[in-house]
Structures are given as structure tokens and as C-alpha cells.
Symmetry: C2
Subunit: 499 residues, 2 copies
């Protein structure tokens, strides 16, 4: 290892330490911090963020990166070359954005977030509108710091899905949309399964216990992780060997407490599976948000909402919740957790309708950036698209355009990664079934080791070494593609709804 | 406020943020961190420590401090002058100790700690001896970084008790020792109270619940604090508005679970009471370790082991633990929690014998630094002093010279603050009783507000503004003095043991 590479790694290790320290402070803020701690915590996080930024964007890091890029010019495959490439990508983004802009964005989004909370409470979009306009101005300004791309929205997408283009996402979604709309139309003509079993009262702590047992059987290594309760479910990483999840108690939709825990466990197992040598480097973590989501959705849905899964776990679930599920069989329960029903709220959407919520948002975001959709018109456009895709119109803005937190925080470009994650999960799944033909039987027997091992070897180990499209292609032979997901939905719901 | 003062405060605020971030990481390490997280956590803490040190010892801070010292030369009373003085004191210490020494000390004490654990396990001092010799060399080297003091041990003491001299501590202890030895001798001639009620099985979680209720009644503000379980009880501060304690479950000595929680609550209420304006400055926190200990011991002992306290709380305690304390009355319980019994282990010692454990250690430490006591002779000297002060000889080194963690970590000079804290608690108490003559009646009625308010106004608010001896003198009119503690012990045990 060259001296410069060693020096770079030392500097990046400290930057990583600062980011992980901040993650610990944020985790505590969401789990255990008493309310009085909030103000000081904000200042501590600001200080850690500033120091990490100063350290990372230093001229020293810049020179080391450019020297090493020359040094490793012929090398496109080694891990060191990948490290320099990924760090360079992050560095280029970090240095382009002036600190004053970061501070201004923090100020504007803090107010926008407060306004969004109030607007949603009152279901009154006009409270949020002027703030969203300011946020959009900032997002446009952000785009202006970067070289002109094929499409202005590319710059935003790239922050979440490195290398992904607006044209790619549009092509993928354009291909998917009519098929998914058609499937939902067919399903809506059938009699829905009975799901009253899901709307009974469950002891939340016992649901979490069950979810933790399932995650343990999946392979979540608790000697390198833990689960806590928080107002929002999330996964967070302090080290490859300290990867935690949180669970939100959802007494009104108890089954979500279970599935959200499996979802976050999927994220966590990805982070736990990254090569130990990547600890404290910029190769730690998942390849992209879509690939991360492919893992959470795979364990939540392709595994957790499958018939073999419930064939294994239902007796245990029934033993723990006799009064709630005593009157249903495994097949009835399986159908209940897979009931398709167009609904207003994205985070409550089922597998068949979820992506349509995303496509709607993507179109609105692109329209906002292009200027073809005015902020003032968002509620109307939202409702029209809901009608077109899902056949329903939100009764108010709280259940429509105001439902998501993302825009208030300036996160434009994020949403599509959720749908891409669904697609990738199915795409990987087809390959997995080729490599592990008896996987269904293994799951039916409560065995998940060969599945996790496959994911580790093919995906998790590599961390951020490859770009997401490259990663998917290395594993499956093709770039992100919607066909496997359509095949998956068609087969699954064809059987449940007898289409 | 001058521009320089503003600049200094900004810099110190960031240093404080880094220290508090480290405290959060350490708290998590002791409470919730999974074992896998240990290695990364060590690196993160090292990075935060290094950045805080670099930031604090920068030339910029140095120049600002010396400029401000001139600017404020005539001002000995303002808070700004105190801030500059305290920051200067910390700065002078920080810059004198070379980073290589800090690294070397970390290395040596890590090994010394491992050796101490093993030595204690095997009750074999010779395993620890060579490590303690290295630690002592480092401590001597540390002393050499500082101007020659009246006594070499002064330099060590000053780190824990600013301004305190070896001669002061010796004088205080020399005055105290014969009186305390005499008291214990008299007590040992009386029939000891029955304390089997303390050795029954208590549900540890329920003891903590009770302790938390008591601390709430004391005035511990849980909207700015919390309590968690950890392998060691401690108090930690992330902000004046986020002050936490931990409790160790002690099934073998259940009553300790209760009293240790009250003890840590005392520390926490001190930290919560510091003036809000001192947040993120070097005036945050307690005045010294002895003054801190005066607060923990006051709530634990002068309040928590008093008859009025149990007159109020015993009915509630009995309601919660009917099968354990159903057969004793409040007077019997009060006598049981105040039983005096010379014992080998400091942390299990009662109020009457505790200080003697400390005096023994002080003499050994001074002897080690002076070179008049050789490391190899420590076990023998220890046992001789135990015989002299407490009339008992430890059966082995694990229960003797190997019992404390402090020396393995290089903390020489720390112990006397425990005994000084006891003395200060009684000294303040005499003044409090003058100012609040009906305090006993208030406590008997479960009212602690005027006590806490007195402590806030006279001590807590001031944080680190005054040196400890100055602080005690401002409150009581005299410097640290053992007479009030002797009066307190004599009155209390005179009554219990009918001396």
C-alpha cells in the first residue's frame, strides 16, 4: 500500500468515526434522550457534522485523491481503486456545495418541516406551499453547483442512486406502470380476502418479541446489533459490528409492527454483511438506497409475506396469539397479510399498489424541477394521478399531497429508490431461485442460512464497491429491470386472487 | 462582550460538544452497545478525544486566553473572568502533557487494567506488580511536566481538587483519624443491630422503581435526565438538560441497588442545577470531585439513611416489599441500614468506617510517590494499616490491596476526594440546618424542595466558577473541615448505639 493511500485511509477513518459518532447521537435522540436534551443535541450534531465536513473537504484529502487517481490509473478492479473512486465521488459532491448553502438549507428546511407538520395537521396545503417553493428554489440552486446533466433531475437522483439517470428510471417505470395498473384492475374485480384477523388487539411488545425471534432465525447477528423502540422505524450503523434497528409500535395496524421490524432487519443484515476490511472506509454501507431497499423488501415481502414462511411460522405465531388468530388457518392468514387494496397512504400500501404511489411522486418531482408543474397545482395533479393509477381520490390533502415528510426536508429525488428496491428484490430473487432451487422448502423448514449466505457473497460483502446498476448486472446479468417484479406479482396474486 | 471573548466561547463550545459526544458514546458503551461494537467504539472515542484535544490546545485558544487574561486583569469576580481562569487552568494542564505521553499512558494502563483483573481474580498481587510499577513511572513522569510543587503529590491532587494541597489533606485527615478510630472502637463494644432484613431476596427492578420514585421526590428532573441499568453505577452529563444515571443490580446486597441509585441521583441533581448560561462552557459541571461527592453522599446518607427519611418512606417501602420487611418496624429498619461493621471492601463500607479506607489509600499513594513505600511491600503495608484502623486483616489480596480499579488506570490522587466529599456533606449540612431549622420535619413529610433549592442557590448554580475550598468557604464561612462530620457521626451513632 502506498504511503499516500495509507494517509488517505487514516483521514477517511476519522471522517467515518465522526459520522458514526453522529449516528449514535441521532439514535439516542430517537430512542432514549429526555426531551430536555434536544437543544444541546442539535448543537452537538452540528459540531460533529461541521468537523466531518471540514476534515473531508480539506485540500489534503483533495490532493491525496487526485494523486492516487493518477497512481491507480490503470487499475479499475482493485478494492483500493474502488475506495479512491467512491471517496472521490463523495468528495466532489461535498466540495461543490458551499457551507453557507448547507447552513441556509438547514434553516429553510427546519421551517419547512414545521410548516409541513402544521399543514398536515390542518390538512391545508396552502400553509406548506410558500415553504415548498423556497425548498424548490434551494434544490434548483443545488443542481446549479454541478455540471449540467442530460436532465436536471439526474443530479438529484445521483445522490441516492449513483449513476442512475432520469431517463433510466422513466424507462423502467413506463414499462412497469401499465402492467401494474392492469393487475390491480383485475384484482379489484375479485372478492377480497377476509382480513379481520389483522385488526384485532395485539400486545405490541409480544409482536416485537416474535419479530425478533424471526429476525434471529433469518440470521440477524444480535451480538453485533440490537432492537429498540422509537417513534419511527429505522436502521442505523455505527460499525459493521454494531448495526441497530428500531421498531414503532403500531397498535392501530398491529401487523405493521411485525413487518416493519422484518423490513429494518433486512437493512441491518445488509450492513452486517459488508466485508470487515471496509470498516472505517468509504466502502462501508450499502451500494445505494435502491439496493438497500431491495434487501429490506426481500426479507419483509418475498420472504416474510410468502406462503412457505407462514407455513413455518404460523404455528408459533398462533401459540403466541391464540385469541387473535385461533379462528384462522395458515392459508387464510397468508391471504390476509397479502390483501390488495388501493389506499391513500404510501407507507400503508401493499406490494401490488406500492410502486404506483412512487411513480406518481416521481412524475410530480420531475414536473416541479422542469417547471411544468407549479407548486400551487400539486394537490390537484396529485389527486388526478391517484384517480388514474389507483382509482381513488384522497378526501383531503393530509391523505394526499401532504402525507410524506421528504419534500419538507429537501429530499427530492429519493422516492424512486423505494420502487427500484422492489424491482431489484424480485430480480435478485429469480437468480436466487436458480442458484437455490429448493429455497421454498428451506423456508418452509425455517432455514434461511443459504439465502443469507447467497446474499452475503453476491451483494452484502461488496459494500459500496460497485455502482448500483453495475452491481445488479454483476449478479443477475442485466441492469435494473421491472419484468421479474411483474412476473412475481402476477404469479403471487394470480394464485391468491385466482386471476 | 469583547470579540475575543465571543471567539473563545465559540471555540470552547465546540470542544465541549466533542466531550459531550464522547460521553454519549461511553454511556451507550456501558448500557446498550452490543459486544461486537467495542472495537469501533474505542476508535471513535479515540478520534473524538484527539480532535477535542487538538482543538482545545490550539495556538488560537492559547492566544485568546492570554489576551483575555490581560483584558480582564482587574476583574476577579465576573463570570467571564471565571470562565477565562478555569479554561486557562484546563489549557495549561492540557498543553503540558505531550500527545505521545497520552498515547503511551493509554497503552500502559490498558495492559495494567487487564493484569489487575487477572490478579484480582487469582488474588495474586505479583501479577499486577510489574504493571503498577510502570504506571507509577508514568505518574512520576506526568508530575515532571508541571512546575515543582511543595509536594510532588500536589500535582496529582490538583487534577481532582483544584487548589488542594497534600498538606491540607493530611492536616484534615490527621485531625479526623483518631476521632473516627475511637468512635468505631466504642461502637464495636456494643451489640450490633439486627440486619437480616437487608439480606433477603428483593426484586431488583422493583427496588429501582422505588429508588426512582424517591429521586423524583428529591427533585431529579426526569424531563432532563434518565436512569438505566449498567455494570457500574455512574452519573454522566451530556448537557445541563440531559443528565443521566445508571444503576447496577446487586442481588447479593440488594439495599445497595437502592442507595447507589440515590447516590448517583445526588450527583445528577448537582449537574442539573448548574446555571443554564454555563451550557457549552468550561464553567459547566461540578466544582471538584469532593464537592460532587458531597452531593451524592448527602442525598444517599444524610438524607437517605436518616430517621426522618425512613419515617416518611418506610410505609411505602413496606407496601412494595411486604414479605421482605413485614416483620420489622421503621426503627429496626433504620438501624439495619446504619449498621457499623469494619469490612474489607471500601465500596461496601458504612458511613462510620468509610473514611478510614480512604486514609489508608492516601498514605500508600503518598508513600509510593515519595518512594518511601515500595510497590512490592504494598500488600503488607495495606494489611498492617487495616489492622491499625479497622482492627481486621484481609484474608487475601483480592479483598485487600487489589480491590480498587483506580491505580490500574493511573488514577493516583483521586481517592481522598471520596472522604473529603463526606466531610463537606456534613459541613454544608450544619449550615443548611441553620438556614432551614425545620428540615427534619420537612423530610419526615416527604418535602425536599427547600433543601434542593438551598443547594441550587448556594452550590449547584455556580458550576465550576469557584475553586472548591473557596466555594466551601463562601457557603459555610470556613474551609474544608472535619469537625462537622465528626459531630454528625457522633450524634447519629451515639443515638443508635447508645454510646
Amino acid at each position: 500500500m502506498s504511503e499516500k493511500l495509507g494517509k488517505l485511509k487514516d483521514l477517511l477513518a476519522e471522517v467515518n468515526d465522526l459520522h458514526h459518532a453522529a449516528a449514535i447521537l441521532e439514535w439516542d435522540q430517537q430512542t432514549y434522550m429526555p426531551p430536555g436534551g434536544a437543544e444541546a443535541r442539535g448543537q452537538q450534531l452540528a459540531t460533529l457534522g461541521k468537523l466531518a465536513q471540514v476534515k473531508f473537504t480539506s485540500d489534503e484529502v483533495g490532493s491525496l485523491l487526485s494523486d492516487l487517481a493518477s497512481e491507480l490509473a490503470g487499475d479499475t478492479h482493485s478494492e483500493n481503486a474502488a475506495l479512491v473512486r467512491v471517496a472521490q465521488r463523495d468528495y466532489d459532491k461535498a466540495v461543490r456545495v458551499p457551507p453557507e448553502f448547507v447552513a441556509e438549507r438547514a434553516r429553510v428546511t427546519t421551517h419547512a418541516h414545521e410548516a409541513w407538520v402544521e399543514a398536515r395537521k390542518q390538512s391545508n396545503f396552502s400553509i406548506f406551499r410558500p415553504h415548498l417553493e423556497k425548498v424548490l428554489d434551494l434544490v434548483r440552486q443545488y443542481i446549479s453547483f454541478f455540471p449540467v446533466a442530460e436532465h436536471a433531475y439526474d443530479t438529484l437522483l445521483d445522490d441516492y442512486e449513483p449513476g442512475m439517470k432520469t431517463a433510466d428510471v422513466r424507462r423502467i417505470f413506463d414499462d412497469l406502470r401499465p402492467q401494474q395498473v392492469d393487475l390491480i384492475r383485475k384484482i379489484s374485480e375479485r372478492k377480497p380476502p377476509e382480513d379481520k384477523v389483522l385488526h384485532r388487539k395485539y400486545d405490541q411488545a409480544k409482536l416485537v418479541e416474535f419479530a425478533v425471534q424471526v429476525a434471529t432465525q433469518f440470521g440477524y447477528d444480535w451480538s453485533r446489533g440490537r432492537q429498540d423502540r422509537a417513534p419511527h422505524p429505522f436502521e442505523t450503523t455505527f460499525s459493521i459490528n454494531d448495526v441497530r434497528i428500531t421498531t414503532r409500535f403500531e397498535p392501530k395496524a398491529p401487523i405493521n409492527t411485525l413487518f416493519n421490524t422484518l423490513h429494518e432487519s433486512g437493512h441491518a443484515m445488509y450492513e452486517q454483511g459488508v466485508k470487515q476490511e471496509y470498516e472505517r472506509t468509504h466502502l462501508m454501507g450499502g451500494c445505494s438506497l435502491a439496493l438497500h431497499e431491495s434487501q429490506s423488501r426481500m426479507w419483509e415481502n418475498l420472504v416474510g409475506r410468502s406462503m412457505p414462511f407462514w407455513e413455518h411460522f404460523f404455528p408459533e405465531f398462533k401459540r403466541r396469539f391464540p385469541s387473535q388468530v385461533g379462528d384462522v388457518g395458515v392459508k387464510g392468514f397468508y391471504k390476509a397479510v397479502n390483501k390488495v387494496q388501493p389506499s391513500f397512504i404510501r407507507v400503508e400500501a401493499d406490494e401490488a399498489t406500492y410502486n404506483l404511489h412512487i411513480m406518481l411522486r416521481l412524475e410530480l418531482e420531475i414536473g416541479m424541477i422542469e417547471g411544468t408543474i407549479k407548486i400551487v397545482d400539486l394537490p390537484e395533479v396529485w389527486n388526478a394521478k391517484m384517480k388514474e393509477y389507483l382509482g381513488i381520490i384522497p378526501p383531503n390533502d393530509a391523505q394526499g399531497v401532504l402525507q410524506d415528510i421528504h419534500w419538507s426536508g429537501g429530499s427530492i429525488g429519493y422516492f424512486s429508490t423505494y420502487a427500484l428496491g422492489n424491482l431489484v428484490s424480485a430480480q435478485l430473487w429469480e437468480k436466487i431461485l436458480k442458484d437455490i432451487p429448493d429455497l421454498a422448502a428451506q423456508i418452509r423448514n425455517g432455514k434461511f442460512a443459504s439465502l443469507l449466505s447467497w446474499l452475503r457473497t453476491n451483494l452484502h460483502l461488496h459494500g459500496r464497491r460497485y455502482e448500483p446498476q453495475e452491481m445488479v448486472e454483476r449478479i443477475t446479468g442485466s441492469r435494473i429491470d421491472s419484468a421479474p417484479y411483474v412476473r412475481y406479482l402476477t404469479a403471487k396474486y394470480g394464485e391468491i386472487y385466482k386471476l
